[in-house]
Amino acid sequence: MALFAVFQTTFLLTLLSLRTHQSEVLAEHLPLTPEALKVSVNSAQQCLHLQWTVHNLPYNQEFKMIFQIQISRTETSNVIWMGNYSTTMKRNETVHWSWESELPLECAAHFVRIRSVVDDARFPEWNFWSSWSSWQEVNVQDSTGQDTLFVFPKDKLVEEGSNITICYISGNIQNDISCYLEGEQIHGEQLDPHVSTFKLENVPFIRKGGTNIYCEEKQRKAISNGTVLFVSKVLEEPKDFSCETRDFKTLICTWDPGANTALDWSKQPSQSYTLFESYSGKKKHCEEKNRCNWQITQDSQEIYNFTLITENYLRKRSVNLLFNLTHRVHPMSPFSVQFENISATSAVMTWKVHSLGDYFTLLCQVELHGEGKMIQHNVSVKANGKYLLNELEPNTEYVAQVHCADDNHFWKWSEWSGRDFTTPEAAPSEAPDVWRTMKSGSHNVTLFWKPLSKFHANGKILFYNVAVENLDKPSRLEHRSIPAPANSTELTLDGCSYQIRVTASNSAGASPAAVIVVSAAPGNKEIEEEIIEGTEDGFSMSWKPQSGDVMGYVVEWCDRPQDPLCDFQWKKLGPNTTSTVISSDAFRPGVQYNFRIYELSTKRIAHLLERKTGYTRELAPSDNPHVVTNNLTSHSFTLSWKNYSTKSQPAFIRGYHVYLKSKEEQCQPGAEKAVLPDDTVCCQYKIDNPEQKTFTVENLKPESFYEFLVTPHTSFSEGPSGTFTKVRTPDEYPYMLVHVIVPVVICVVLLVCGCLLKSQWMKDKCYPDIPDPYKSSVLSLIKSKENPHRTIMSISDCIPDAIEVVNKQEGSKIQSLGTRKSLTEPELTKLSYLYLLPTEKNYSGPGPCICFENYTYNQAASDCASCGHAPVSPEAPPSQWGLLTSSENLLKALEKNYMNSLGEIPAGETTLNYVSQLASPMSGDKDSLSTNALVPPPCSEYKMQMAVPLCLASPPPTENSDLSSITLLGPSEHYR
């Protein structure tokens, strides 16, 4: 046994030894190192294609092998990738393998080597790595020594969102180089002194023309080179892929293709579409991008399994569709749509469908559009369709259309086919709504009716017939036809009751009649108007029925009460209705609307029930009254605005406010202080009666200013704050004058009149005639002493008949006659005369007189134009100083002076020369004359002086004359 165990162990050791030896022999004598390694380059795809073989494989059978591949970049020691590739191969068989580089292969030299191992369970002894093959160098671009800059990859096609690495090779260019992607600089890594790489991640699609990347030498500012990265949109899977047939001859498949991935420069065409049907194994390239037609063969294939494949250079996508052909029937549109037997309310619609075979039934849907409504009906059809359209409206245009679908397996409706038609007219179905207005105090009735709605008119209303029947006495019916579209007519009736029937007619007939009765005794009593409040929605009103037996109620109003035509409206209500809301689009705020509510008896007679008035919304009064001020006194005045109409206002006028401004701080009783919008304070009088349109403001102060404003007020506001009107109360004095002075004046006038009547008596009493100087004894004395030698009459010889003593105060101012020489000169101030005048009664012309002249008394006469001399200078000769040229002038002057003598003689108007009847004891003393005041004696003791105008006086003194001397002139001197 032990021997057996030793033998067995020895055998196993020997076997193991033999096995180990055999392996060593295989490894030594059967090297499995890959041989004939060849490396080719696909620059566009940045791929290295490797091919090799293993010559030393034993046996001519397949071995499962693993190849380990190392790829280095720039130099062999810089291994950038190492991986295994498993495959089965036979002896001398060539193995192909590709590797895609991230970096364009032109950017750097690449090196490749391979080793292998048999990975086959049948040959475990060969399961060890061979030695490496020698390095194979791949150098696509040799830029050594070139002065050109290269950018790689060239015109590469990538998909949107990819990561890509680009590089530039600068060769011998020493300058700094900057690279730009679409105008923006990009930064990379230097691979070696001449190569820089740029990693671009998630590249976007920018344009079909590609994304431009270019590099420039900074110092030369020259574009050295560039490349275009053609970024394609990602190919999308077709959406909504669907197939259907309309005639069982062709299948039409459609889909949504999504974005077109075509690129410029033929870099990538639009994606292609191909249909593949798996049951038949047929394939079809689609010409269009969103649809494809597939011919149905006659082999009764019902089930189809389509695959739609789309592809471009970068991607391939597909979608599947499995369906039963009979479930994808999309019928064609019905045709020959016709209408038969069209009446006012019905029509028959017929149509035809394209036949799909005896076994197919179509479900057709008929749609009727008219009057804004739509009605649908379903009909099952084999070949020809027919449907009765009823419940139509007369004189209405309809559009009827039909579409169909497979009734067994609904897929899609066909397109619509349709036509329009119009139903003929029918007689109006309802009586027109009629109402009337009656003018009070006359028998004129205006009938109104509302046009029938289209629904009830059943056609175009051509005219309205009005038939009037006298209810009180038998008479012939009166007919009247009013062409449409009139809506009213006027009837003149007598005092009888009448029944009026109104019908509307179209081409098909007349409507039922509307009946209204006009009573002989309207019985419209005075009914007080009630104010109601309206809203934007209208007027809500109610009324109390008077009798229980009524047909209904009518509310009437005018939509535009301010217009002459007023747009008359009415609303009819049932017998059980006692309230309503009247609304109208025509209602406007600030307009007063008046409503009348009538009760319609069973005999169709209307009785006025109630009157209402109101506003939808009251507005503030827009105007203030035009106010007139009357009865202005020093203590009051009256304001009046009687022309102000309260009816035409935008709200119910509740009264007026009278504002009064004055300097007084306290308001009068009946007024209260009010603050105006401009913060001024005034007194406010309130008038609560809108019909009171006068107001008297009392207790005012004379000669004071007041301002007033009258404004209407409503329940919620008052009129605009307008301009105040000013009033000034007058003074009391004029009134005193009127009351006192006027009677005095009247008395004086009466007194004067009395005096005039007694003038002779007065004359005799007050100013008797002046004696005639020619009858004086002095004259006889002169005559007696007349001789060739003139003598001066001695004063003592004279028996003075009259002496005038005139004195001028020294230094008093006198006005010169016709000269502007200063009258303050000494010569003039001494001017004085003493006249001796005749006292004859009837002296009528110039006569001899003796006078003392003083200019002062000549003033008025000098001013008298009637004297007929113009002002002259003192140097003028005396002859030019106009003597009185006519007796009339003298008389006038006398009259004037006479009249003046009756009254006061104002200062400066001392125009009269007084002739004293008494001899002055101081005659001849000029100084005395100038100082003594002239005191007239009682009139009984003097003769009245005549006023002697200057023109009657002697010529004015010359410069050399002695004005202060007393000159006695004889008659000859005067007449000279």
Binding site: R207, K208, N212, I213, G258, A259, A262
Partner: protein, 251 residues
């Protein structure tokens, strides 16, 4: 910007269709000055880069300052203004016609490379691209119109040269095949080509302007250095050699 673009497009459309229809109807303006005025207006309108170069640059994504700076005319691609001034009137017209013919062909090639906007991209970008493509179409119509007027002018000047078949570049003058420079370089080349196109139209406008100042319509503007027209034809030389554009748009 879109409003201006639309306005220019409409103007271009009207001009292009006007002159295209004129030639199609076989009616040429018989008045020298009228025709010359039209040529000047066309040259003036078409020298504006906004009529062709700008839309091209937007389509190609070259409308960035760095790239605009480098989009300069490549010397020698088109005849210089001096060279154009030195030509006789008929030679000038022939040269201009040949230049425009070349531009037309290149534009056609470019348009083939540019698919319609479709549903691609953001809507504003797609709209802008559609507008720019439309302007390229309008530019071609305008060039046709200008060529028609050149044809009319050449007939008015008594030339038997048929403008309907524009002068072709001489065989062998095309550059030898070179490795594909890449889309970027081709874009830039197209930009430079169109820059030259606008410049040559500007120069043509200047030459036409000189024509208008000539004493009479029959007078030939012949600068001292220019060779006689017939002599230049009969004896091609370096100076009298036909001036044809050498540049190309990328295709």
């Amino acid at each position: 910007m879109p409003t201006q673009t639309t306005g220019r497009t409409l103007l271009s459309l009207v001009l292009g269709l006007l002159f295209a229809s004129m030639a199609a109807m076989g009616s040429c303006p018989g008045d020298f000055h009228v025709l010359l005025g039209q040529l000047q207006k066309q040259a003036h309108a078409m020298q504006d880069p906004s009529s062709l170069l700008d839309p091209y640059m937007r389509i190609q994504g070259l409308d960035f300052p760095q790239l605009r700076e480098h989009c300069t005319e490549r010397p020698g691609t088109f005849p210089s203004e001096g060279a154009l001034r030195g030509l006789g009137r008929r030679s000038f017209l022939r040269t201009l016609d040949a230049t425009l013919g070349l531009v037309l062909r290149r534009l056609a090639a470019v348009q083939q490379q540019l698919p319609e906007a479709g549903r691609l991209g953001r809507p504003p970008a797609a709209r802008l691209r559609a507008q720019d493509l439309e302007m390229l179409k309008m530019a071609r119509l305008n060039i046709h119109g200008l060529r028609n007027n050149i044809f009319c002018m050449s007939r008015l000047l008594g030339s038997s040269w048929d403008a309907a078949e524009p002068t072709q570049a001489a065989p062998g003058t095309s550059p030898p095949p070179t490795p594909d420079p890449g889309a970027f370089q081709r874009k830039l080349e197209g930009c430079r080509f169109l820059r030259g196109y606008h410049r040559v139209l500007s120069s043509a406008g200047q030459v036409f302007g000189k024509w208008g100042k000539s004493p009479s319509q029959g007078h030939r503007h012949r600068p001292p250095r220019a060779l006689p027209e017939d002599a230049s034809r009969a004896r091609p030389s370096r100076r009298g050699r036909r001036l044809v554009p050498r540049g190309q748009l990328p295709r």
